[in-house]
Amino acid sequence: MILLTDGLAWSAIYLIIGLGLVLIFSVTRVIFVPFGSIAVFSALSLGAMESGHLPAMINLLGLFVAVAVLMELWSIGRQRAWGRLPGSLLRWLVVPLLPCLLAVWATGQDSEALRVVAAILLAVPLGPLIERVALRPVAHASVLSLLIVSLVLDLILAGLGLLWFGPEGIRTKASLNGSIAVSSNLVINYQTLLTIAVALVLAVLFYVGLQRTRMGKVLHATASNPVGARLVGIRPAFTATIAHGISALLAGIVGVLVSPVATIYYDSGLILTLKAFVAAIIGGLVSYPLTAVGALLVGVAESYASFWNSGLKDAIVFGLLIPILVIRSGLVVHHEEESEE
């Protein structure tokens, strides 16, 4: 039973990651590998703030802001559209740096809640910045080129993470301490409950948000028919920014949820992302409900596998891909012609 509750907590984490991956893939066709690294950076930032240091995430954001602003200036200068300058400076320079100020302030304060909020918010600008700097220039390339770019981006993030956060792993304080004893041999940590609750709330919000709100409909429209969405006046760059912003927020939440239960290193992100991929693949990276099913499967399987052989648990989870893909090919009745060039 302990294994099961532990597994459910991990399922919840993979569910949140999976939601972000599916959102980005369906809107921009990018398989967003750096997701896990963003989550890891938010966790490492929280760790740094807890020990009273300024998080190195600020350097990272500064670097990406600098590149993004240069690219914006270059494109504005070339088109001589100087009227766009204030707006773009606001968007790419001022807004991304706001969470940094918050983080600087939060580092000095003695409030864990404040630090958690700061760590989550620090992650948010990173998503849109990555999209602006590296993905937008190749937005029209094939899914495979986009995948290579996103994988390389993750390498770069991990490299910068090693450079600035250092090779040490961290584990942060639990947001909620204590546990409840359901029966004599089953004790559930509040942290586990919190993780599961957050995932459920986010999943419901996602569902309602995509169906009911205007923004949700815009994202939905772009996902199901990009050309059509463009024709009715939805800018793909705009929706991409929004999608990346939302999923970076999710990544930030994942970071602070994971760091109290597992030791996080600068390169833990890739494995996190890939396990969520195993979950999301069952729905073809486009279906939210099937992703939830997959996340449940992966989380529980991992928890039992780690009990059986902790060294091989990752290998066992990836081994799950095979049955999942078989199920997937059963689900797909026929597959449309993709024109590749």
Binding site: L147, V149, L155, L163, L274, F277, G319, E337, E338
Partner: protein, 594 residues
């Protein structure tokens, strides 16, 4: 004459180099070249499956690792010869590649990439956690490879073997790409409908390529284990697989030469950075991988064709333009199938229906084609002509009704099987491979008439059949009047001409029935007349033609019979003059009051 000299001089020169280089260079550089050769071998396989075949694999280093560990384990703890290690390695890697590919390839491009990422992460984990494979320390004391009396125990001697294998591997891949199977490999990115139209199975071909690529990786892993005499799990990580993809992209994904160029650049630069970075920073290793990742990103963003593309452009500019090669004359022609006797029913459509959800695109249409006639399928926009076309070729399954070709129902058959039974087609949106020559595009059509597979193609044992296929392709090109453009790239032709190439391609398959989807669109008057006379000749040879067309004038003067569709149903059928007089047809085309 000059070509013949090159044909013998090149391999000799290469052999001479392979023998001479390790004598001249120092052992450090020889070891570096060994690494380059081993990497190039992996990248050749990767170019075949990913660069040209379009299915990206991030698992090549894992395959290298499996091969290296297999031979290491067999030759140390089991005391078997390295050759046994090679054989078992091939069985293991090809088997796992076949399994992974078989599951993922049907699902489309990025599934293979994602599953091989997981594969590439999982395999080194298994190495690092298996006690029999030395866990984290690896296996050392691997014996060298022995060739007869010589034990290749120094980097100088193993150099010769490595580069002979690289040379052989490159030769095989080069021949393969030029062969009958190779043309379909280069057509893979055109999509599986195109592939099926000339009887090739895109899924099977990609799977074969993936297995072949894993075999190249196996050779590399085997050489690696016996050249370094030690294996551990680190050089087979996912990171290494990404490095192989990097080498492929740097060199230019779709050229074989980039295997050598990319691996040499990568390993050379890596070596250079390892020398230089410690002088600048004390965190050299971290900066090193960061530099490579940034470089990779820049190349992807700014030079998607890699460094190989400008180089090959330079090469074509420097080299005098080759004259059209003389096609070798085959001893006889490709076999032709016997045409059904004139007037026999060959295609019978009964009550064909296609529903897309609530929309009935084709509603209970029945008609018949007899051998040796030209039938036009016409109708206003949205009449269901294209859907009908897709039902006949097997691109879409029927919701109801039957279609039989030569008295055999086609409902259970795939698009490819229908094509193999003698139904050739053209496409409304032309599907030619722009980077292949016109002649090669037409030769694709004759694909199903040849038999030489992967091995005979790669080992150059297919010359006679190749000559026949090329002669046939040339004959069809002459028929559509494009013989003098045979060696131009298909992408450089005008749209109308491209349509003619498609017709030549479908003729090259020696079809019983040829289905043309709007063949006259984009043709000029003279070209239309030429096309009409070509179709007329075909009719006299006993070929049956079904034309879907908008151009009334073109159709009316040519066809024997017309089938008219509107709103998914057949509204009229008969000789052109009968159809023209039919009030329902007039209503459909001109409005109800006409």
């Amino acid at each position: 004459m000059k070509q013949r000299i090159w044909k013998y001089a090149m391999p000799l020169l290469m052999l001479l180099l392979i023998v001479a280089v390790p004598q001249i260079l120092g052992s450090f550089h020889v070891a570096l070249l060994n690494d380059i050769g081993i990497a190039a071998l992996v990248v050749i396989g990767l170019i075949l499956v990913s660069g040209i075949g379009g299915a990206l694999s991030f698992g090549q280093a894992a395959f290298v690792g499996i091969a290296a560990y297999t031979t290491a384990w067999l030759s140390t703890t089991q005391g078997l010869s390295p050759w046994a290690g090679l054989v078992l390695g091939l069985v293991l890697t090809c088997g796992s590649a076949w399994l992974i590919g078989g599951i993922t390839m049907r699902l489309g491009g990025h599934y293979l990439a994602l599953s091989t990422i997981a594969w590439g992460l999982a395999v080194p984990l298994v190495f690092a956690n298996t006690h029999a494979l030395g866990s984290h320390t690896g296996i050392d004391g691997i014996p060298p490879i022995s060739l007869g009396p010589w034990a290749l125990d120094a980097s100088r001697t193993v150099f010769v073997l490595i580069w002979l294998v690289v040379l052989g591997g490159a030769w095989f891949a080069y021949n393969l790409l030029g062969s009958r199977v190779g043309r379909t490999i280069r057509a893979l990115r055109g999509g599986k409908i195109l592939m099926a139209s000339f009887g090739s199975d895109a899924f099977r071909l990609r799977l074969t390529l993936f297995v072949l690529a894993s075999a190249y990786a196996t050779l590399a892993g085997w050489l690696y284990a016996h050249a370094n005499r030690f294996v551990s799990h680190t050089p087979f990580s996912l990171h290494a697989s990404i490095d192989y993809v990097f080498m492929m992209v740097v060199g230019g994904m779709s050229q074989l030469g980039s295997a050598l160029l990319g691996s040499a650049l990568y390993i050379g630069l890596n070596n250079f950075l390892q020398d230089v970075l410690p002088l600048v920073t004390d965190r050299g290793a971290q900066v090193n991988s960061l530099v490579f990742a940034l470089l990779f990103l820049l190349i992807l963003l700014r030079m998607p064709g890699g460094i190989g593309r400008p180089l090959s452009r330079l090469w074509t500019r420097l080299r005098p333009r080759a004259k059209a090669p003389v096609l070798p004359a085959p001893s006889r022609q490709l076999e032709q199938r016997s045409m059904p006797e004139r007037g026999r029913s060959i295609l019978n459509v009964q009550n064909a229906t296609k529903r897309f959800g609530g929309l009935v695109a084709v509603n209970g249409v029945s008609f018949e084609l007899k051998a040796g006639e030209i039938v036009g399928l016409i109708g206003p926009n949205g009449a269901g002509k294209s859907t009908m076309f897709n039902l006949l070729t097997g691109t879409l399954p029927l919701s109801d009704g039957t279609v039989s070709f030569m008295d055999e129902p086609t409902s259970g058959l795939t698009q490819r099987q229908i094509a193999l039974r003698g139904v050739a087609r053209t496409f409304q949106h032309v599907k030619l491979r722009p980077a292949m020559t016109v002649l090669e595009n037409v030769a694709l059509g004759a694909h199903a008439r040849g038999h030489c597979g992967l091995w005979r193609g790669g080992l150059r044992m297919d010359r006679e059949e190749e000559a026949r296929i090329m002669a046939e392709a040339m004959r069809q090109l002459k028929r559509v009047g494009l013989a003098d453009q045979a060696y131009e790239l298909a992408g450089s032709l005008a749209l109308g001409t491209q349509r003619l190439v498609e017709i030549a391609r479908s003729l090259a398959s020696d079809p019983v029935l040829i289905m043309l989807d709007e063949p006259a669109a984009g043709l000029r008057l003279l070209e239309k007349q030429a096309l009409a006379s070509l179709l007329d000749t075909l009719r006299s040879e006993g070929v049956t033609v079904l034309i879907v067309e908008h151009d009334m004038e073109f159709v009316m003067s040519l066809v024997d019979r017309l089938v008219v569709m509107n709103f998914g149903s057949k509204i009229s059928e008969g000789r052109p003059d009968e159809v023209r007089a039919d009030p329902q047809v007039q209503a459909a085309y001109l409005g109800s009051d006409a």
